[in-house]
């Protein structure tokens, strides 16, 4: 008999709030979490805005759990989101068999400890104008003095999972994937497959990331991927609108507890929804551009539908990848038309990146949570900043205000740099 997989806990830390309820409240009110960057002096960068997490109590977490002292910013977000998901799941840590409890996360790396790194580089610059800009021997000596070993360790993309496993007594299967913007959707999809196969009864999944640091902002800026609507930060992220000019960086974490249905029923858990299909494909096209034919992305959606035993007419809502780059939104629109056929213009589609910015590795998990909340409350979050239609994006993007609607089946799309396409099919749980 096939094991069914349900979601029994959710948690979020986003630019709109420090919990699912705060985030959801902002989303359905159509609020933007974007503002001027405060984490470092970005005043001379071409993009000066981002969706930062506000009011997070880092010290409070260190007081409670000293092992987090040097942890990366995004690890803190992950720990708090996971903590919320746990509280909502009503799981008791010692009542679970730790070896039947897995963790598959899509946690990002956290960049360098920029200050000490830059100091180390500056003090080892070659002045003789030779071919080497930096004297490596001097860099090694300087970095050994200036950089903190634990900060360096904590910046690695496996440390978030390390802390989560330690903190929540998870001994079972473990993994962390970092497939760019698709990472946390992929993590949820893969964790779902684990439970379906029987490798675990429970899994903590989701993702966390912050790329709002000088090299992250510089790197995406150089790729011309970021919006430069600096004057009106809250209007900068404009998925599907004709004036869109790139994405806005966001940061945060989304965590979900996946559980074997019979395990959840036995302990009378509250069920937020069911994962019924997972599609994963590759474009094999270019490093950053989506395949203009959208074949791979369409196939990911079709696989998710087919695995869930669903037809296009069953879909009540599509949570779009919708990054607000000129090309991606047009291709995603075309892909949805391909998959949904004549129903494409009838299904509500929205991009919550219009409000949260692009949380990169964490984006997909928070979008899954938005789908579950839409099912629970019967309301679809809007795509804000949708003012002027683009002829290439001519579907129903739930413009600007949330819409009441019964959502039984939702699809969540995540298409990452590098050509990774992920689609998850989610279903409301009925007894």
């Amino acid at each position: 008999m096939t094991r069914r997989v349900v979601i029994t806990g959710i948690g979020a830390v986003t630019p709109l709030g420090l919990s699912v309820s705060q985030t959801w409240d902002g989303l359905i009110k159509g609020r933007s979490g974007i503002g001027p960057i405060s984490l470092f002096d970005a005043s001379e960068f071409s993009t000066k805005i981002a969706g930062e997490v506000q009011g997070f109590d880092f010290n409070g977490w260190v007081d409670e759990d000293p092992a987090l002292r040097y942890a990366a910013r995004s690890t803190f977000f992950a720990v708090q989101a996971a903590d919320e998901a746990f509280r909502k799941s009503l799981l008791k840590p010692f009542a679970i068999d730790p070896e039947r409890f897995g963790i598959y996360f899509g946690a990002g790396d956290s960049g360098l400890d920029f200050g000490p790194f830059v100091e180390s580089v500056v003090s080892s610059l070659n002045t003789d104008g030779g071919s080497c800009v930096v004297d490596k021997a001097r860099y090694l000596e300087a970095s050994a003095l200036k950089m903190n070993p634990l900060s360096e360790l904590e910046s690695q993309p496996f440390m978030t999972v390390t802390h989560l496993a330690r903190r929540f007594y998870i001994r079972g299967p473990v993994s962390n994937c970092l497939t760019a913007c698709a990472a946390s959707s992929q993590a949820i999809g893969e964790a779902y497959e684990w439970i379906k196969r029987g490798d675990a009864d429970l899994a903590l999944s989701g993702g966390s990331h912050s790329m709002i640091y000088p090299l992250g902002l510089a790197g995406f800026g150089l790729l011309k991927a970021l919006s430069t609507h600096n004057e009106e930060p809250q209007k900068a992220s404009r998925p599907f609108d004709s004036k869109r000019d790139g994405f806005v960086l966001g940061e945060g974490a989304g965590a979900v507890i996946l559980e074997d249905l019979s395990h959840a029923l036995k302990r009378r858990a509250r069920i937020y929804g069911e994962v019924v299909g997972y599609g994963s494909t590759t474009d094999a096209y270019r490093m950053t551009d989506m395949d203009p034919e959208g074949t791979g992305a369409a196939r990911a959606m079709e696989i998710a539908l087919a695995k869930g035993g669903l037809r296009p007419e069953d879909v009540d809502y599509i949570n779009a990848h919708g990054t607000a780059t000129v090309v991606n939104d047009a291709i995603e629109t075309m892909v949805i038309k391909k998959v949904m056929g004549p129903l494409a213009s009838k299904v509500p589609i929205s991009s919550i990146k219009s409000m949260l910015g692009h949380m990169i590795a964490a984006a997909g998990a928070v979008e899954v949570i938005a789908c579950l909340m839409a099912m629970r409350d019967g309301v679809i979050p809007p795509t804000i900043n949708y003012e002027e239609p683009d002829p290439e994006c001519d579907l129903d993007y739930v413009p600007n205000t949330a819409r009441p609607a019964n959502v039984d089946i939702a699809l969540s799309n995540s298409f990452g740099f590098g050509g990774q396409n992920i689609c998850l099919a989610l279903r409301k749980y009925y007894e």
Binding site: V122, S143, S175, G219, L223, T281, D283
Partner: protein, 427 residues
């Protein structure tokens, strides 16, 4: 429905021993380490001076479009080469495969910045006071960087380039659990095939920490061996002298495929991937791990996934990182599980041959486990002279010994406490 079985049909290795699996396997059989004094960086008074370096790697042999080399870090180039060697070794004709059913799964982590490349941006941002100024970096520093700079360093770019090169359009994954990542990538790829989402996968890992930032990180964590005076025998897991790792560089990718698919194309089958298990420790710092239960859990999970017990395992290819605490934990975990059969099992390890390849280690070392099964031979553990009394195990020493091997257990443990084990079996 019968379970879909997964077999290894091709192996592509680029290691300090040379290109292809053959020179690597030869070195493994001879217990011959490729660790040498490190020529690439001038390390002055720096404590680590030895490494497993690939001295003569020519990326142009593998990357036909020269200008794309500019966007490929060394990790990407090594992975591209390994992928081509693996596809060749598998004798698989890509033009007659359904490439939507051909995916890839890689272990790769943070790719370190080239300091000279980054240094240009930082140098430009140094103000009159001689210090870095963020505003100057924003104005001029960024503009002096290579526009596609970020793309050289994203962890999923090795997978991206490989998918483009071979046209692979099945599922793709990039796993970042440090030293266990490559092994996990293969284990997870095997699951993708088993559940029917693909018929063939390229899986393994790639890494090169032999750059200033990579060495700096390991040095900061005090994880590097100090035995610079004896490069070839410095890296000695489980030996009384073990005092940390010696870094290496390399990539190992395997072609794994569904058994009937392999048979239908009359492929050479090396061995079966029959079991996979992973687990977490509760440690949070690789230097002070107290917990060996996680390591036992992963081994147990892999064995039970393979439907086999310790008595049917002839050889363990240990993680053997050479970090004393980790070696002791692994020995303890192995003794716990293999307690009753310690006289029938042998334990070996292959990290001394190439140095620790970190994200590249899983794919490369798995090739040794696969070849042990395929060639029916137990390779010795290099550089073991006097075992650490806390690591007492039935080690394979001396010459390589011929032996029928039904099952080999392969361990990979990451620095963050992520453990992955595979069982490799003869068909």
């Amino acid at each position: 429905m019968t379970k879909r079985r997964v077999v290894v049909t091709g192996m592509g290795l680029v290691t300090p021993c040379g290109q292809g699996w053959q020179p690597y396997w030869e070195a493994v059989l001879q217990a011959q380490s490729s660790i040498r004094y490190f020529s690439n960086l001038h390390l002055n008074g720096f404590s680590a001076k030895i490494a497993g370096e690939i001295p003569d790697f020519n990326p142009e042999k593998f990357v036909k479009i020269r200008k794309t080399l500019k966007v490929m870090s060394r990790e990407i180039q090594l992975a591209i080469a390994a992928s081509q060697l693996a596809v060749q070794d598998a004798g698989i004709a890509l033009e007659s495969e359904d490439l939507q059913r051909f995916g890839l799964s890689l272990g790769t982590g943070i790719i370190n910045n080239d300091l000279d490349e980054m240094g240009i941006g930082i140098r430009t941002a140094v103000g009159e006071a001689g210090t870095f100024e963020m505003s100057k970096f924003g104005q001029e520093g960024i503009r002096s960087l290579f526009p596609l700079w970020l793309l050289k360093y994203l962890p999923n770019m090795p997978a991206c380039h490989i998918s483009i090169l071979h046209g692979l359009r099945g599922p793709s994954n990039t796993i970042t659990t440090s030293a266990s990542a490559g092994t996990q990538a293969v284990g997870e790829a095997a699951r993708v095939i088993e559940r029917g989402d693909a018929d063939v996968m390229l899986a393994g890992g790639t890494d090169s920490k032999l750059n200033a930032m990579g060495i700096s990180r390991f040095h900061l964590l005090n994880l590097l061996s100090h035995q610079n005076h004896v490069p070839e025998s410095a890296y000695c897991p489980f030996d009384i002298r073990h005092d940390g790792i010696v870094l290496g560089e390399g990539a190992g990718l395997l072609v794994i495929e569904e058994l009937e698919h392999a048979r239908a194309r009359h492929a050479n089958i090396y061995a079966e991937i029959s079991g996979y298990g992973s687990s977490s420790d509760f440690n949070h710092d690789p230097r002070c791990g107290e917990d060996s239960h996680g390591k036992s859990a992963a081994m147990q999970a892999a064995l039970s996934d393979a439907g086999t017990g310790p008595d049917a395992v002839g050889l363990i290819v240990a993680n053997g990182s050479g970090i004393p605490q980790e070696d002791i934990q692994e020995a303890c975990a192995i003794r716990g599980i293999f307690e009753k059969v310690l006289d029938s099992v042998k334990v070996t390890g292959v990290k001394p041959i190439t140095g620790h390849l970190v994200y590249g280690s899983g794919g490369v070392e798995l090739a040794a486990a696969v070849l042990a099964v395929h060639k029916k031979v137990v390779p010795p553990l290099a550089n073991l002279e006097v075992p650490d009394p806390e690591c007492e195990l039935p080690f394979a020493v001396g010459k390589a010994q011929p032996r029928e091997l039904k099952n080999v257990l392969f361990n990979s443990f990451g620095f963050g406490g992520q453990n992955a084990c595979l069982v490799v079996s003869s068909l």
